[in-house]
Amino acid sequence: MSGTFDGQAPPVEVRDLTVAYGEAPPILEKINFRIRAGEIFGILGGSGSGKSSVLRNVIGLVRPRAGRVFIFGQDLWADDGGHLNDCRRCFGVMYQAGALFGSMNLLENVSMPMREFTDMSAEAIETAARLKLSLVGLSGYEYYMPARISGGMQKRAAIARALALDPGLIFLDEPSAGLDPITSAGLDQLIKTLAKNLGLAFGVVTHELGSVMNIVDRAILLDKEIKGIVAEGDPRELARRSEPPYVAAFFNRQSLEKAKGEGPAEGGSKRRPGRIE
């Protein structure tokens, strides 16, 4: 794949990352994980656990309070100059709502990074953009404006744009959010196909268990209580665990109380008044 610094280094390596906003106390402290080449890696966690914040640190939108992020062996924050942008060109990102440019049609959206960063001819850029739209199943929609296509199609087009510079790594922020189960399953299949056929590594931020079980090879689960990673591994294996309770609760869609064995008996309720779990 093009745009990678070092073929031997893992696509992502995060060392002792502390995630925080401003002067506020950190959301996550000293977390470590690694995304291997060709794997679909899940960054999981409940609402407010900091998974999107981790993504913003890893893709270079927010400078970590502490720790280092390596993309294909290169320290993302090694200097404040153009190095960061060089690193950013090694990966593609699909944002939660697609983030397609509303004033451009799909072909222009996908072509834009190629026009900016390559010396390919105009015909080759158009061919490459059509190719990528075809790969995500959007042949025939090249001249559609983003507002005219469905949410699922917008996410597919966003993946095509993330593929524009042939990165070896793609990040997906909540790919299933706002999609119906059929569209979501189609998108999962597309991610699996791209990972298999192009050998891409994917970093997927999600809390959709259906998607996780369907596509993710390995995952970390973030917990805001311990401000770190509570479990790491194959999500299907993690789902069989009963300890720690947070892991069991997350993968089995239970309340934390029930996972701790403090849950209400059938027909009864132990929930304290005014407290919503």
């Binding site: 390919m120 001819s121 015909e123 490459a128 790969l135 042949s139 929609y141 042939d166 192009l198």
Partner: protein
């Protein structure tokens, strides 16, 4: 031979046709100049074999460059054939070829001129229906409000009146003052040649009170308050707050638009009066600088303004206040979904408001002329 980041292209002429040997990494980094020797003219049915066996790396953009060059050669009359790529690169090349074949099988449908025109006409028609519906609903709510004033949310009206109306007074005064000053200065330059400088007072009085005061107040309010209404209601629409009001069985026009429109109707005449005063005062400053008494200027300016002119000024300001708020609110409530919709609604609100004010003022000028007022 071309060299682009280690990529090489070598053209070989044989009896049966041409052969292009590609070697090195064919990736996104290959520059367009590397393809200059790729045959692209006078094919005349010759065969063109592309030998891929020397490639060391291949990605989708590299494949796209090759297939694009091959397609160009095909159009120039060559029979293009691709040789076998190294084993580890075959899959990606075949993937790219298949994707492009699928794309060719489903050609894109560019939006034609007439389709676009039709869509625009339909959108305009829909827009017009929405606008008329809103105007009707607003009038009904206004009448209902006059019949039962206790049902109007006066707290909201006063709050909007302060933010959108009273707070606009300084900027309206400044603009009007400067316009009055400029008019007086320019006309004094001309009239002083005939010894008629004092008539500047009559001119500024009638121009500012009859036309410019209401106009300046309306345009500044359109840019300041009308746009704020569009943005506020557009953001509420995007956040589904308007839907929430509707599903509660309430009317968004009554709850959201009516307080803003009433506040605007009530404050615009006052703002307009301030604008007129500031404009006339601006003219007075010029004449004072020319050694005329401010008191004489003021008397002439005010005496020249008939009661009818004053009523026209007040009437216009009521109308402009209604139009500015109504259009601002309507654009906000008609905003689409998504983050860009608020910006579009705001722009649309300001543009529509300024056009509406200009058209309305012109129509009124013609009507008053015909009625000899």
């Amino acid at each position: 031979m071309k060299d682009g980041e280690g990529f090489n292209l070598k053209l070989e002429k044989g009896r049966g046709g041409l052969t292009v040997h590609l070697s090195g990494p064919l990736t996104v980094d290959v520059r367009r100049a590397a393809w200059e020797d790729f045959p692209a003219s006078d094919g005349q049915g010759q065969s063109l074999l592309v030998n891929l066996s020397g490639l060391s790396a291949l990605d989708l953009n590299g494949s796209a460059q090759l297939l694009s060059a091959g397609a160009k050669s095909g159009q120039a009359g060559f029979k293009v054939e691709y040789g076998q790529a190294p084993q580890d690169l075959t899959a990606i090349f075949e993937l790219a070829r298949e994707a492009l074949e699928r794309a060719a099988a489903e050609p894109p449908a560019p939006v034609g001129f007439f389709e676009e025109l039709g869509r625009k006409i339909k959108e305009t028609q829909k827009d017009l229906v929405v606008l008329i519906t809103f105007a009707g609903e607003l009038m009904a709510e206004l009448l209902r409000g006059f019949r039962r004033p206790s049902q109007i949310r006066w707290n909201s009206v006063l709050s909007v009146a302060e933010i959108a109306g009273v707070n606009a007074a300084p900027i309206v005064s400044l603009v009007s003052f400067l316009v009055g000053l400029i008019i007086a200065f320019q006309s004094a330059m001309a009239l002083s040649q005939f010894g008629m400088t004092i008539y500047v007072a009559d001119m500024v009085g009638i121009a500012v009170i009859r036309e410019l005061g209401p106009l300046i107040a309306a345009i500044v309010l359109a840019g300041r308050s009308g746009s704020a209404f569009s943005a506020e209601l557009g953001a509420m629409k995007a956040a589904e707050e308007v839907d929430a009001i509707t599903t509660m069985g309430l009317s968004p026009v009554r709850e959201l638009a009516l307080p803003r429109v009433l506040a605007s109707i009530l404050t615009t005449p006052l703002i307009t009066m301030i604008a007129c005063f500031a404009g006339v005062f601006g003219g007075g400053l010029v004449l004072t600088a020319m050694d005329f008494s401010l008191l004489i200027y003021w008397q002439r300016a005010i005496n020249f303004v008939s009661p009818a002119t004053f009523y026209i000024c007040v009437g216009k300001s009521f109308l402009f206040g209604l139009v500015v708020a109504a259009i601002g609110c309507q654009r906000g409530l008609a905003a689409g979904d998504g983050p860009g919709a608020v910006g579009q609604a705001t722009t649309s609100g300001v543009v529509s408001n300024i056009v509406a004010i200009a058209v309305l003022d012109s129509l009124l000028a013609v009507l008053f002329y015909v009625w000899n007022i």
